[in-house]
Structure formats: C-alpha cells, structure tokens
C-alpha cells in the first residue's frame, strides 16, 4: 500500500470519528432534561425568550430530528461551535484563544512522561531484582495511585508555600519581565509544576510498560545473535532491545493521549493555567453547555492529532508497519 492511500484511509477514519463525536454531542443535548434550546442557551440565556427563539430558529429545533442533526453537523464543519450566551462570545473564539496554553502543557507533560518513563523503565529492566528496580516499581505504584489534583496540591504546598521555589498558579507573573527571553523563562517557571503533575502518572505507566516489554524482548533469538556477534552491550540495548521494546509503549501512549487531555482539565483547575481545561471548569460552574460541548469536540480533535503523531512515530521506529 502506498503512502498516499494510507494517508487517505487515515483521513477517512478520523473524519468518521469526528462525525460520530458530533452526533454524540447532538444526542447529549437531547439527553438533558428539558428543552434543547434551554440547554444550548445555558443558565444565562435561558431566561430570555428572544434568545430561546433565536436558538430554535438557528438550529431548526421545530424541524424533524434528522434535519436538526444535518443543521448541527453543517455548523460544526464550518467551525461554528455555537455561542456562549454567558460570555456573549462565539465558543470557537474562546477555545482557540486558550488552545496554545493547553497544547504547551499537555505537550510538555507528554514528552516529559515518555522520556523519563522510558529511561526509568529501561534502567529497571537492566537491573531486574536489584534495588534500583524495586525503587522504581515502588515509585510507580505510588504515583499510579495518587489522584492527579492531590499531587498538584502537594507540589504547591512543598515547592511554592514551603520552599518558595516555583510560582503556584497562573502562566505568567503579574508584572511580566522585560525581554522575550526573560518572558519565556517566566512561562517556563510557571509550567514546571503543572507539567510535572500531569506527567508523573504517565511516567509510572510508561516505566512499567518499558520494563516488561524490554524483559520480553531480551530473550529473543536475534538478541542472542547480537551478543554472539560480540556487539558492545550499550549498542545491543539501544539498537536492538530498546527499539523493539518501544513499540508497545508508543502504541499505549497514543491510546492514552485522550486521558492526558482529560487530566489537563483537572491540572489546569488546580494551577489556574489559562487553557481549555480551566475554560471547561468555568463552563461547568456556569452550566454553559454549549461551551462544554465545543470543548469536547476540540479535545477529540486533539486526541486524533496525538494518534496521528504516534502512528508516525511507530512507522519510524518500525519501518515494517508502514510497508504492510
């Protein structure tokens, strides 16, 4: 199969998932008790009869259901995610404005988790049964069991309140420093705690996966061959064991990308990080359903994007995947 047709299949699949999510949204609105127009208006708009009439007109709520679905689909496809009556702004604008902050947070947490997780997992696999291995698996168990928001609060208590090393909330200082470099450093300092909080759970997951996957690969024949050839140990581990052991890790990382985006909601709430998650929390407090549904669509797009990245990473790590 050629590159092009694979890309086309991938685009088709992603579109199908997106359409299914929009349909799901459509059903969710109708699942809510009461009139869909009141749901779409949220608490702020529901008291105004003009707003309700406008929504009924816009979404064709007096027409048959399939037609309503078509109208809704067309709106989402043209990037119209509806209007937040509470904030008097289009939902798409509000989300796009917050998107960079969330991408920065989830992206750095993801990379941090992958890098540290793989490093710890392979360190543990090379010293099975020794204290490094036990220490890493105990740490994994611990971070696997802590609620993510609690880790965040403990970090604030330790690193901000007690030690005063890092800022406890926000993305920038009240008075941002002069100069581009200083301002980036300022954002980076604010990023450390949220990214660490969001990433630690996944460090535990990836470390455990890398360890078991490396232990499995170690016993394959081609590793014995590599040893018999007299290759240096470092090269065997890096080029032969790790490269093959990483495939399941990358696959799982891709599947869990959705959870990472979900975790960002909680972390952004803890650290007042001005991203989509924080926006979702505000939307939740105000019962701004239109905003929440829009965030759901955008986060699904992010997940599809993450999946694409892991697909590409997989085909780089294992060229056979692209060929078959």
């Amino acid at each position: 199969m050629g590159r092009l047709s694979r890309a086309l299949i991938w685009i088709g699949k992603s579109l199908a998932v997106l359409v299914a999510i929009v349909v799901l949204n459509f059903c969710l609105i109708r699942l809510a008790p009461g009139d869909p127009a009141t749901v779409l208006a949220g608490e702020a708009g529901a008291s105004d009869p003009h707003v309700l009439a406008e929504i009924r007109q816009q979404y064709g709520l007096d027409r048959p259901l399939p037609e309503q679905l078509a109208i809704y689909l067309r709106a989402v496809v043209s990037l119209d995610l509806g209007f937040s009556y509470r904030n008097q702004r289009p939902v798409a604008d509000m989300i796009l404005e917050r998107l960079p902050a969330t991408l920065l947070l989830t992206g750095s947490a993801f990379l941090f988790a992958l890098a540290i997780g793989i490093a710890l997992g392979s360190a543990a696999a090379r010293r099975v049964g020794r204290w490094v291995d036990s220490a890493i698996s105990v740490a994994g168990l611990v971070f696997y069991a802590m609620p993510i928001f609690w880790i965040g609060l403990l970090f604030v208590l330790l690193f901000s309140v007690a030690l005063g090393w890092l800022p406890p909330f926000g993305m920038r200082s009240m008075i941002p420093p002069e100069g581009a470099a200083a301002r980036s450093l300022d954002v980076a300092a604010h990023l450390v705690l949220p990214a660490l909080t969001l990433g630690l759970f996944y460090v535990a997951v990836y470390a455990r996966l890398t360890r078991s996957s490396m232990l499995e690969v170690q016993h394959y024949d081609y590793i014995r061959t590599a040893r018999a050839k007299g290759l240096p140990e470092g090269r065997i581990v890096r080029a032969h064991i790790l490269r093959n052991a990483l495939l399941p890790v990358i696959t799982i990382a891709g599947i869990q990308a959705g959870q990472l985006v979900g975790g960002a909601i909680v972390v952004e709430t803890v650290f007042a990080w001005p991203g989509i998650g924080r926006l979702a929390f505000d939307g939740l407090l105000q019962r701004d359903y239109n905003l929440l549904l829009g965030i759901f669509v955008i986060c699904s797009v992010m997940v599809i994007f993450f999946n694409m990245l892991t697909d590409i990473a997989l085909s780089i790590a294992d060229p056979r995947i692209g060929a078959s």
């Binding site: 069991a145 609690w150 360890r211 979900g262 359903y289 997940v303």
Partner: protein, 279 residues
Amino acid sequence: MREFWQRFSRNRGALAGLVVLAAIAFAALAASWLFPGDPWQMKAKPMLAPDASFPMGTDMLGRDVAAGVFHGARVTLTIGLASTIWATVIGVLLGAVSGYAGGRVDEAIMRFTEFVQTIPSFILAILLVAILQPGISSTILAIAVVTWPPVARLARSEFLALRQREFVAAALTIGLPAWRVILIEILPNAASSIIVMASLMVATAILTESALSFLGLGDPNLISWGYMIGAARAVIRQAWWLSVFPGAAIFLTVLAINLVGEGLNDALNPHLRRQGRPR
C-alpha cells in the same frame, strides 16, 4: 480455594493491600457509629489544626474532617464498586457476543469499542454528569459508560480463543442453545482474567470519581473525598490538613486495590508470570 489463598498470600504487597482495604471497608461501615450525625454539621470552631479531639482538624465551616473522611469512604467505595460492576456487565456482554458471533457483528462491535476508546473519556464523563445533573447515579453511569471498552476487548479475545476449544464444540453438538454455551461453558473459563481486570478498574473508577467531585460534580448531598479536597483548595496555604487527609485516603484506597488486584492476578492466572502483566 486453599491453593488460591496460598498463591495470593505469597504476594506480600497483596496481603498488605488486603489489610488496608479491610480497614477502609470497616471505616465505611462504622462511619455512622464512630461519627454519629450529619458529617455536614458544624462541630467546632472553623479551621482548627489537628489535635486530640479532632485528629484531622476542622474545615472552613467547623465541620469535623475525620467525620467527612469516614463518611466519604462509603460514597467512594459504593461508586467504585457499582460503576465497575456496570462496566463489567456491559463489557462482558458486548465482548462475549463479539467474540462468539464473529463476522460482521464482531466487526461492528469492535469498531464501536474503538470509537469509545478514542473519545477523551474524562471529558465525556464530565459532560454526562453535568447534563444528567450531579448525583450518585449519574456519576456511576458516567464512569461505567467510559470504562467498559477494555473489558469488552478482553472478553472478546477470551471468547474468541475458547470458542475453538473442544468442550465448546461438544456442548454445541449435543444441542445446547448458544446462550447456555456462552453463560455456562465459556464464561466461567474466561472469568479469572475478567475478575483481575475488574478489580483494577475499581481503583481507576475511584480516581475518576474523586476527580469529578473535586471539580464540583459530586452528589451535592453526599460528602466525598474529592469534594473535600476541591472545597479546601482555596485555603491550602492556611490549612494543609483539609486537603492532605482526604487525599491520603484516596491514595491508600487506590494503592490497596491495585495491590490486591496484582495478588489476584498471581493467584488466578498463575501461568502468566509477573513480568508479563496483562494490560
């Protein structure tokens, strides 16, 4: 049974987890006896640091944090167990049909399962609870709806493998109806790995529940650990004990369940050695 217990108790962590879990279950059962009355009620001056009479301190409204932690254990365990049971029932049902029937039915169900796994599950759970109105049953439903896919995949692969076995062919040959073959012949043989997965899912369900109630989506009438931490977030500088104790309760519960789950895995699937723990 004795063999099962021997294998389980060889895992020290699992034994420790079992003890902790028993203590937490006891706390849940004894909550109204140890801390009678409403945990929402004001008991003393607000924001008292932990001391002899209030070992976990009091919160912004003078409520006893220890009472909240004990009463919260009930809510958390109930939601964790109930949502896991539902997710397991949905997953086993879909997976069994998928693996047993094969063909188009299998294809359709697996496509659907994949789709649900692609959705950002926590956001869907938030949406479901917000739209259905916060309450214990909507939380249970939301968690079940987003957590069944791995069970379905596991059940499918077990059914797919077991369906080829001779005893299933024999049962079909003597004319047993398909539903009896599924329930009586195949399911018991698939049960051990499903039980292990379900036990680990209780832990995840508790984490999800606590995150939902942290965001203010818990049942407004029932005190829960996540809610307590969420409410105390604003005063974390002044009163560390408000967030630390309920959080430690969540942590210990989830850790204990994970350890017990691993012990169950050792005991029920002895042929799978530790390093190849199924995901």
